[in-house]
C-alpha cells in the first residue's frame, strides 16, 4: 500500500472540509453526494489508480476516471487539487464567474483532470466504454474507472451502455454506482425504485461486486479486487453503498442535503466534526 488506512482517512477528512467550505463559499452546489463519496475518491486517486498529475487529455498508459453524476463536482475538484492536479487555493473559485471549477465538470475551461463534461445525467457510462475501447485499440493495458449515481440509472442511456459493455467484452472497465438511495425528490424507493440492481447488472452480463463505500479499508480492498478482475472478459460493476452526507451528522442519510449549501452556523458545526489534516485552502 502507498498509504495506511489512517493516512487515507486523514486525506478524506480534509476533502470533506473542502467540500463544505466550497459549497458554503458560493452558497450553492451539492454537498450530500459529495460527502458520501469522499472515501471512494480518496481510495481511487491516492491508492488504486495509476495516474499522472502531469495531465494530458489522451492519458495514454494511465488509468482514467470519468464522473457521470457531475453534480458531485466538489468532491472531485477537492480530490484533484489535493492529489496535485492544481493548487488547492483554486477551490475557492468554485461556481464563481471566470472559474475553471464550473458548477458541473467541463473540459471547456481546461481544468486538469477532467476529460469530458458531465451534469446532464446518464452519459458517463457510454463515454467510459468509448475510452476503454480506445485503450484496447491502442494496446494500452490501463483501466478505465467511472462513477454513477443510483438515481442517475433511471436514465435510459445507461441501459444501452449496460447491454453493450458485456456483449463487447469491455473488460478494462470498472464502473462504480454510488448507491445512497436518495435523489432530489426523495428516496429512490419512492421516486422510481431501482429494485435489485445487482440482479439487473448480472443479468446484463456484468461481474458485480457489492461493497460499503464509507469504510476506507473496504473500499481500497474492493477496488483492488475489481482491478484483479479486469481482463477476464467481463466489465465490472461495483455496487457501492454510501450514506449521503457521510461525515457530517446533520447532513447524513437524507436527500435534503442533495443540493443545499450550509449557512455560517451549519458550516461551523460541520467543520467541528471534520479534522483539518492537510491545511484548509
Amino acid at each position: 500500500m502507498k498509504h495506511t488506512t489512517e493516512e487515507l482517512e486523514e486525506i478524506a477528512s480534509q476533502i470533506r472540509r473542502d467540500i463544505v467550505r466550497m459549497v458554503h463559499g458560493c452558497q450553492s452546489g451539492h454537498p450530500g453526494g459529495s460527502l458520501g463519496c469522499a472515501d471512494f475518491f480518496t481510495a481511487l486517486y491516492f491508492e488504486v489508480m495509476h495516474h499522472s498529475t502531469d495531465f494530458t487529455m489522451d492519458g495514454k498508459g494511465e488509468d482514467l476516471f470519468f464522473l457521470s453524476n457531475g453534480h458531485i463536482s466538489p468532491v472531485w475538484y477537492s480530490t484533484l487539487a489535493r492529489a496535485g492536479y492544481f493548487e488547492a487555493s483554486e477551490l475557492a473559485t468554485f461556481r464563481k464567474l471566470d472559474s475553471r471549477l464550473q458548477g458541473h465538470p467541463t473540459t471547456h475551461e481546461h481544468l486538469p483532470g477532467v476529460r469530458i463534461a458531465s451534469g446532464s445525467l446518464g452519459q458517463g457510462m457510454s463515454v467510459a466504454i468509448g475510452a476503454a475501447l480506445a485503450k484496447k485499440l491502442n494496446n494500452d493495458k490501463a483501466i478505465v474507472f467511472s462513477l454513477h449515481g443510483d438515481g442517475e440509472l433511471q436514465e435510459g442511456q445507461n441501459w444501452e451502455a449496460a447491454m453493450f459493455a458485456p456483449f463487447n467484452k469491455v473488460d478494462n472497465l470498472i464502473c462504480t454506482v454510488d448507491f445512497n438511495g436518495q435523489q432530489i425528490d426523495g428516496p429512490t424507493e419512492k421516486v422510481l425504485s431501482l429494485d435489485n440492481l445487482q440482479a439487473k447488472f448480472e443479468a446484463f452480463g456484468w461481474h458485480v461486486i457489492v461493497s460499503n463505500g464509507n469504510s476506507m479499508e473496504e473500499i481500497v480492498k474492493t477496488l483492488q479486487y475489481a482491478v484483479s478482475l479486469t481482463g477476464k472478459g467481463k466489465p465490472i460493476l461495483n455496487l457501492m453503498s454510501t450514506q449521503m452526507g457521510y461525515g457530517v451528522d446533520f447532513m447524513m442519510g437524507s436527500h435534503k442535503w442533495h443540493g443545499v449549501a450550509p449557512n455560517d452556523e451549519q458550516l461551523k458545526l460541520a467543520l467541528d466534526q471534520l479534522k483539518e489534516t492537510l491545511g484548509d485552502y
Binding site: 487529455m57 480506445a134 442511456q157 447491454m163 453493450f164
Partner: protein, 317 residues
Amino acid sequence: MKKYTYTEKKDTRSGFGAGLHEAGKKNENVVALCADLVGSLKMEAFIKDFPERFTQVGIAEANMIGIAAGMTIGGKIPYTGTFANFSTGRVYDQIRQSVAYSNKNVKICASHAGLTLGEDGATHQILEDIGLMKMLPGMVVINPCDYNQTKAATIAIADYEGPVYLRFGRPTVPVFTDPDQKFEIGKAWMVNEGKDVTIIATGHLVWEAIEAGEQLAEMGIDAEIINIHTIKPLDEEAILKSVQKTGCVVTAEEHNKYGGLGESVARLLATTQPTPQEFVAVNDSFGESGTPNQLMEKYGLTDKDIVKAVQRVLERK
C-alpha cells in the same frame, strides 16, 4: 451560363461510404460506429478492411454518441453513422454535452436527410437538423451536393480537429463535381458567375440551382450560383462579394425555412448589407410518404421553384 453535364447519377451516401474507406486507409486513427444501418450508410468497405476499427452499437444512438466521444480520448477519430433524424434530434443532449461542449473530435455522419428519403415518411425525414446542429457552439455543419463532393468532404474532415456534422442523402442525383476536388471546409464553391441575382444552394438543391440557372439564362437573366457546402462556418466573404454585385439573393435547401442555410444568409446580410432575399425551403412543415421527386415538387424544392423565387426577388430589387 457555364455548362454542367453528368454521365451518371449516384447517391451521396455512397460518396460517404467511399470517403470513409479512403479516410480509413489514410489514417489509422479513423474508426467507425453504426447503429444498425451499415448497409444504408454504405459502410461495408470500411468494415471489410478494418473490422477491428468498426463498432456496431445496435439500435442505441445515445450510447453510440457517448462511446464516440469517449474514443476521442485516446486519439481516435470516430465517424458515427445513422439516419439524420437519429443523428441529431434523438441525441441532441448527448451531442451537446459529450461532443460539442466537450469539444470532442467526433464526426457525426447523417444519411437520409430531408424529404428525399421518400416513402418512409415524416418520422424519418428530418428537416430541422441543420438548425439543431448549427446552433451548437463550435460545431461545423457540412451538406455536400453530390457523390464526389461528399466523398471529398468525408476524407477532409478527418484532418480537421473538432466536432463536425456531415449531412447527406439517399437518392441518386447527378454527379457533376470534380472527382479529384480538394474539399476546403468553409470555402464556398463558385458554380457560375453572373450579375443579376445570387442563388445560394446547398446539398441536393445545387443541381436544381444549375438547372434553374439554365432556364433563367434563356429568359435573359444572368444568375450567379454559389454552392455553400459548409453552412457553418459560413463563407461570408464569398456571399457578400456576390450580393454586392447582384443586389438580391435566393437561398435553396432541403430543410425547413426556419433554422437552415437561408436564415444564416439572412443574418449575415441583415447585419452587414440588407438585401432582398427569397427562400426556397420547406415551409415549416413535416414531410410525408411519396417518391423523392413527388415530394420535392409538392414541397416546392425544384428548379422551377428556384426560377419563381428569382422572379419574385428581382421585382423587389
